[in-house]
């Protein structure tokens, strides 16, 4: 199909874009990379009266260092996760995970902030935002506010963004610690206690298995203080199975997603230990 009629704006400044959204409360859609919005328009699942294309607002296209972490502007493409040296140095997990985001032909246009704002429950970037404790900067004509990933993601395709706001920046803080749309996905991090060779810190965030990315703290607790061995991983995997909230849909059943999440837990933890031993 083809998109329904809309008024098209491509402002040159953020102020203009925000003013437009403010005037057309709830009637406008922001077009950044367009890799999710354009399919919705083509299929007429979305029929906004106005489309605000932010691609001409050059000031939003950046990846910068900030207090040991990085900040990424609304127009930075997903490919930059693979090409930007700053990402490789400071957030290697983002560089590694970028490989799993769709395909090179999509990452050339798709933006990092756009994927986070779209909040597809099976997308990688929202899960990475949660795992890395990202802070989202939400801008409107009235000002800006900052929202942490824990409260930003609310449900299927639903975030803390109001109709007159643009996600202008995502901030990935300096990491104190350290994975096609997924049937189930995981972002896992482990830190070992330097003396006793037991697990000191663990982070287990799952995606594609609930309305938002889900951090399963019970599964993390099953690892802390344990030797980084199969028995502990098995306990975490079983706990994760219970701590997620998968749906039945055309792609996979609830039971299958739970099983995949458990298997991924084992694999991710083994991979994490392998990496720790190499370093």
């Amino acid at each position: 199909m083809k998109p329904a009629k809309f008024d098209y704006y491509d402002p040159r400044s953020l102020e203009e874009a925000l003013a437009l959204l403010d005037t057309h409360q709830g009637d406008g859609k922001i077009l950044a990379g367009g890799q999710s919005l354009m399919p919705l328009l083509n299929m007429r699942l979305a029929r906004p009266n106005i489309v605000v294309d932010i691609n001409r607002i050059k000031e939003l296209n950046y990846v910068r260092a900030s207090d040991g972490g990085i900040v990424i502007g609304a127009l930075a493409r997903q490919r930059t996760l693979q090409t930007e040296r700053l990402i490789a140095e400071r957030m290697p997990i983002l560089q590694e995970a970028a490989y799993y985001i769709a395909h090179p032909q999509i990452r050339s246009r798709g933006t990092i902030c756009g994927s986070i704002a779209h909040a597809d429950p099976a997308a990688e970037l929202p899960a990475l935002a949660l795992a890395l404790e990202a802070e989202m900067t939400l801008s409107s004509a009235k000002g800006t506010r900052s929202v942490g990933a824990e409260t930003f993601f609310q449900s299927f395709f639903t975030t803390a963004l109001a109709a007159n706001e643009i996600l202008t920046e995502v901030r990935f803080p300096a990491p104190p610690r350290h994975g096609d749309f997924a049937i189930a996905g995981i972002v896992a991090g482990l830190a070992l206690d330097p003396d006793r060779q037991v697990i000191a810190q663990a982070r287990l965030v799952y995606f594609g298995v609930g309305p938002t990315p889900i951090r399963v703290k019970a599964a993390e607790e099953a690892l802390i203080g344990q030797h980084a061995e199969e028995a502990a991983f098995e306990a975490a995997a079983q706990s994760a199975k219970q701590g997620i909230d998968p749906s039945n849909d055309i792609h996979a059943s609830e039971a299958y997603r739970r099983a995949v999440a458990a298997t991924l837990t084992m694999r991710a933890l083994r991979a994490a230990v392998e990496k720790l031993r190499k370093n």
Binding site: Y8, G34, Q35, H103, P104, Q105, I106
Partner: protein, 160 residues
């Protein structure tokens, strides 16, 4: 504000300036307004890869971009590969020799992705080639021959 827009862009080195409806996708613009029908329209939601073209040197889906967004851009479509006299590009030659196509519907997209891949990564190994080709569907199940075609094209382009 406008429901239509004048766009000025270059396609395969030729400048075009036309007024289009704001809602018109780039692929429809290329086919209907510019008259270049080599780029195919497949799924219209970015999955199949048939509409892949190069925009400022990068492979993009032209079905999930608006023509208005390409204002000022440099585009390359499958028509830009062969020489004006009709001599095929080494990538096209390789696809022909290795039977990298059957019905040919997906082929323009595969060719354009291959073009960017081999320009930026002339020494791409099999894993890299597969990663780039993963953004395309071929329903005649020709993937193995497509892979061989890209490998052959890579070796030829490295020699030139």
């Amino acid at each position: 504000m406008a429901t239509s827009r004048t766009v000025k862009l270059r396609v395969n080195g030729v400048e075009h300036e036309q007024t289009v409806e704001a809602r018109k996708t780039l692929v429809d613009f290329l086919r209907e307004d510019v008259g270049l029908t080599g780029t195919n329209v497949g799924c219209e939601h970015g999955v199949c890869g048939a509409c892949t073209i190069l925009m400022n040197g990068e492979a993009v889906r032209s079905c999930i971009m608006l023509a208005a967004q390409a204002d000022g851009a440099e585009l390359m479509t499958v028509e830009g590969l062969a020489k004006p006299g009709g001599e095929l590009h080494p990538i096209q030659e390789s696809f022909r020799e290795k039977h990298g196509l059957q019905c040919g519907f997906c082929t323009p997209g595969f060719l354009m992705t291959t073009y960017e891949l081999l320009r930026k990564h002339p020494d791409a190994d099999e894993e890299e080639i597969k990663e780039w080709l993963s953004g395309h569907l071929c329903r005649c199940t020709g993937y193995q021959d497509i892979l061989e075609s890209v490998k052959l094209a890579a070796s030829r382009l490295r020699r030139t």
